[in-house]
C-alpha cells in the first residue's frame, strides 16, 4: 500500500479484495490475568512457580483486529514477540488464530520499554508494514509506553487506546467487521479512541502505529485446524545483536514489594446498621 513494492507482499489472499494491508502485531508473553501474583520475600521478583502464561490480552485483541482487516482488505498479519524461546508459545497462539507468519526476537533477561521499542523499530524497518498494532499496555509491567515510543522512533502517527463506538455485544461486533477503518485510497486509517470523558476519532496517514483498548473487539478462539496449521507456519528468529540494538535496560527495578494489605471489615445485617456505621463510624455521609 505505502512505499512497499507489490512484489514484497504475500499473495495468499484473492486479489479481488479492495486493498491489501500488511499488519505487524505484537504478542507479549505475560502471566495469566487470573493468576495470583505474589512477591518473593527478598523482593527480587515475583513467585513464578505454578504460574500460567498467556498472550497479553491487549495483544490478542490486536491480532484479532489484524485478522479482520486482512479478511476485509487482503494482505497479511505478521506477529512478533520478544523474549526467550518460551515466547514461541504466544507466537503459535497468534498463528493458530490465523496470523500468516511470525518473527521471534530471541532475548533472555531484563528488557524495558525503550529496548522493546528499539527492537520493534528494526523489525518494522525490515518488514515495512502499513500498520503496527500493539496492546495499549502489558498487564505485567502496566507501563503503557511501547507503542508511543515506537511511533516517535519511526516518525509515524499514533492512535492509542483504539476502541469503537459499538459495544462488544453489538451486531457490528458479531459480524466481525474491523473497527479500524482503512480509507478507500488505502492511505489512511480512522481510529476511534477511548479517552477521558468520551470517544475521540483520529485519522492517521499510513503507515501508523495503533494501540488497542479492551473494547476494540472480542478475539476469536483458535480452531483445531488453526492449531494444526500453525505448527507448520514459519517463525523467523532474530536477535538484538542481529538487529543492532543495545537493549541494556534504562528502567531498573530496584525492589518489588507487596502493596499494603487492606483488612476486610465487617458484614452488616441490614441497611439501618449500614447507615449508622457510615454516619457515626466512617463519618462519610
Amino acid at each position: 500500500m505505502v512505499d512497499v513494492p507489490v512484489s514484497c507482499r504475500s499473495r495468499e489472499y484473492p486479489l479481488f479484495k479492495e486493498k491489501d494491508v500488511k499488519i505487524l502485531v505484537t504478542a507479549k508473553r505475560v502471566e495469566d490475568p487470573e493468576s495470583k501474583i505474589k512477591v518473593k520475600p527478598d523482593g527480587s521478583d515475583i513467585v513464578r512457580e505454578g504460574l500460567k502464561y498467556k498472550i497479553n490480552p491487549f495483544d490478542e485483541i490486536g491480532v484479532e483486529e489484524g485478522l479482520r482487516l486482512v479478511a476485509k482488505h487482503g494482505g497479511e498479519v505478521v506477529v512478533v514477540s520478544i523474549g526467550g524461546k518460551e515466547v514461541q508459545e504466544q507466537l503459535r497462539h497468534a498463528l493458530a488464530m490465523g496470523a500468516q507468519r511470525a518473527v521471534w526476537v530471541n532475548h533472555t533477561g531484563a528488557l524495558d520499554q525503550m529496548g522493546v521499542a528499539g527492537l520493534l523499530q528494526k523489525v518494522v524497518e525490515k518488514e515495512k508494514p502499513d500498520l503496527v498494532v500493539l496492546g495499549k499496555q502489558s498487564i505485567d509491567d502496566d507501563q503503557n509506553q511501547v507503542g508511543q515510543y515506537l511511533a516517535e522512533y519511526l516518525g509515524w502517527g499514533q492512535a492509542t487506546f483504539a476502541s469503537k463506538v459499538e459495544s462488544l455485544e453489538s451486531e457490528q461486533e458479531k459480524s466481525k467487521t474491523p473497527a479500524l477503518q482503512v480509507g478507500a485510497d488505502g492511505k489512511t486509517v480512522q481510529v476511534v479512541r477511548e479517552v477521558d470523558n468520551g470517544l475521540a476519532t483520529l485519522e492517521c496517514q499510513l503507515p501508523a502505529v495503533v494501540t488497542t483498548d479492551l473494547r476494540l473487539n472480542l478475539p476469536r478462539y483458535a480452531s483445531l485446524p488453526g492449531i494444526m496449521k500453525a505448527k507448520s507456519k514459519p517463525i523467523e528468529e532474530l536477535t538484538p545483536e542481529k538487529l543492532g540494538v543495545d537493549v541494556t535496560p534504562k528502567v531498573q527495578v530496584v525492589k518489588l514489594a507487596s502493596p499494603p494489605e487492606r483488612k476486610a471489615g465487617i458484614k452488616v445485617p441490614d441497611v439501618a446498621t449500614l447507615v449508622d456505621k457510615l454516619r457515626n463510624e466512617a463519618k462519610v455521609v
Binding site: 505474589k38 507501563q143 509506553q145 476502541s163 455485544e169 483520529l202 501508523a208 528502567v251 471489615g265
Partner: protein, 322 residues
C-alpha cells in the same frame, strides 16, 4: 539547579483539569527531594484562560505556547513542543498526570528526549541525584521501586496519590515561547464527549459503582448517586456490554479512584477492578454472594440483593438527611 517540568492539561471547555493540580503537587514533592526548581508548561490555543490559575500554584516559571494547532490535543504536535522546551531548559524531569492525554503524550516526549519513563508513579523516594519512583505493576498486586538511568527522566503520576497544589502562592514568572509546530501525519476528526451532570469520577467524594449484578439497570445506582452528589462508576463487564459509557470503567485499565466513600453493587471484585478503587477511604460492598472477593477489601459488606438494598439505602439516607 535541576529542573522539574510538569505539563498542564486543559479540558475541552478550556478549564484546567483537576488532575493537573495533583501533577503540580507531585512536581513540588519531587522538586523538594531532588533540590530542583519547578516549571510548568501549557500548550494551548488560548493559554490566557488558565495561565492566571497556573501562576499561583507554586511553580517558579510557567511556560505558555499559543498556537491554533494546539486547539485539539495531538501527540504529534504536542510532543515536539514539550521536548523542545525541555531541551532548551535542560530539564532533568518531565512529567504529567496519568490521564488519557498524559499516557498518550509522555512516552512520545520521552522518546524524543531519549528518556526512560515510569508510568503511574505513586511516590518519589530518595534525595538529590538519587531519586527512585514507586509504581504499581501486575494490576497493583506489586509495588515496584524503579530507577531511571537516562539523563532525562520522564513520568506520569497517579493523581489520587498526590495532594492538589494549592492556589494563591507566590506568583510564577510567566514566559511565552514559540515552539516550531510540526506538521502532523494525524488529523483530529471529532470528539464525542460523554456529558454528565454528575461530578467527574476521578474527582468525586463519593463513587457508586455497578457491576454485572445490575444486569444493566443503573436506575437505583443513579438515584443514590444523585442523592449523595456522587459519581457513577462501573466494572469492565458493564462497559463491555455497552450498558454505560466506557469512561466509567474503574480498574487496572480504566480509571483509578480514591474517594471518601466507594459503594460497589453487584461487582465481584476481580483483581483488575480492585486495582482502581482499593485506596478509597471507606468501601461498601453489596453482593448476593458471600464469597465474592470484593468483601475482602470492604469495610462494610452486605450479603444481599442490590435491587432490594439500594432503594432502602436511599430512603434511609434521605430520612437521615431531613
Amino acid at each position: 539547579m535541576p529542573i522539574v517540568l510538569i505539563v498542564a492539561e486543559q479540558q475541552p471547555d478550556g478549564n484546567l483539569r483537576k488532575a493537573t493540580l495533583n501533577a503540580v503537587g507531585a512536581g513540588q514533592q519531587l522538586a523538594e527531594k531532588a533540590g530542583a526548581e519547578l516549571h510548568v508548561v501549557l500548550l494551548s490555543k488560548e493559554p490566557s484562560k488558565v495561565s492566571e490559575e497556573l501562576k499561583g500554584l507554586g511553580a517558579k516559571v510557567v511556560h505558555t505556547a499559543e498556537a491554533p494547532e494546539f486547539e485539539h490535543y495531538l501527540a504529534e504536535t504536542f510532543a515536539p513542543a514539550v521536548a523542545e522546551l525541555a531541551k532548551s531548559l535542560n530539564a532533568d524531569y518531565v512529567g504529567m498526570a496519568s490521564t488519557a492525554m498524559g499516557k498518550d503524550l509522555m512516552p512520545r516526549v520521552a522518546a524524543r528526549l531519549q528518556a526512560a519513563m515510569a508510568t503511574d508513579v505513586m511516590a518519589f523516594n530518595g534525595s538529590g541525584a538519587d531519586i527512585s519512583f514507586s509504581r504499581p505493576m501486575w494490576a497493583g498486586n506489586v509495588f515496584a521501586e524503579v530507577k531511571l538511568t537516562t539523563p532525562v527522566k520522564a513520568f506520569t503520576v497517579r493523581p489520587t496519590e498526590f495532594p492538589a497544589a494549592e492556589g494563591g502562592q507566590a506568583a510564577a514568572e510567566v514566559k511565552a515561547f514559540s515552539p516550531k509546530v510540526e506538521a502532523s501525519r494525524t488529523k483530529f476528526v471529532d470528539f464525542k464527549e460523554v456529558k454528565s451532570a454528575r461530578p467527574e469520577l476521578t474527582e468525586a467524594r463519593v463513587v457508586i459503582s455497578g457491576g454485572r449484578g445490575t444486569k444493566g439497570d443503573f436506575k437505583e445506582i443513579e438515584a443514590l448517586a444523585d442523592l449523595l452528589g456522587a459519581a457513577v462508576g462501573a466494572s469492565r463487564a458493564v462497559c463491555d456490554a455497552g450498558w454505560v459509557p466506557n469512561d466509567l470503567q474503574v480498574g487496572q485499565t480504566g480509571k483509578v479512584v480514591a474517594p471518601q466513600l466507594y459503594i460497589a453493587a453487584g461487582i465481584s471484585g476481580a483483581i483488575q477492578h480492585l486495582a482502581g478503587m482499593k485506596s478509597s477511604k471507606t468501601i461498601v460492598a453489596i453482593n448476593k454472594d458471600a464469597e465474592a472477593p470484593i468483601f475482602q477489601v470492604a469495610d462494610y459488606g452486605m450479603v444481599a440483593d442490590l435491587f432490594k438494598v439500594l432503594p432502602e439505602l436511599r430512603e434511609a439516607l434521605e430520612k437521615a438527611k431531613s
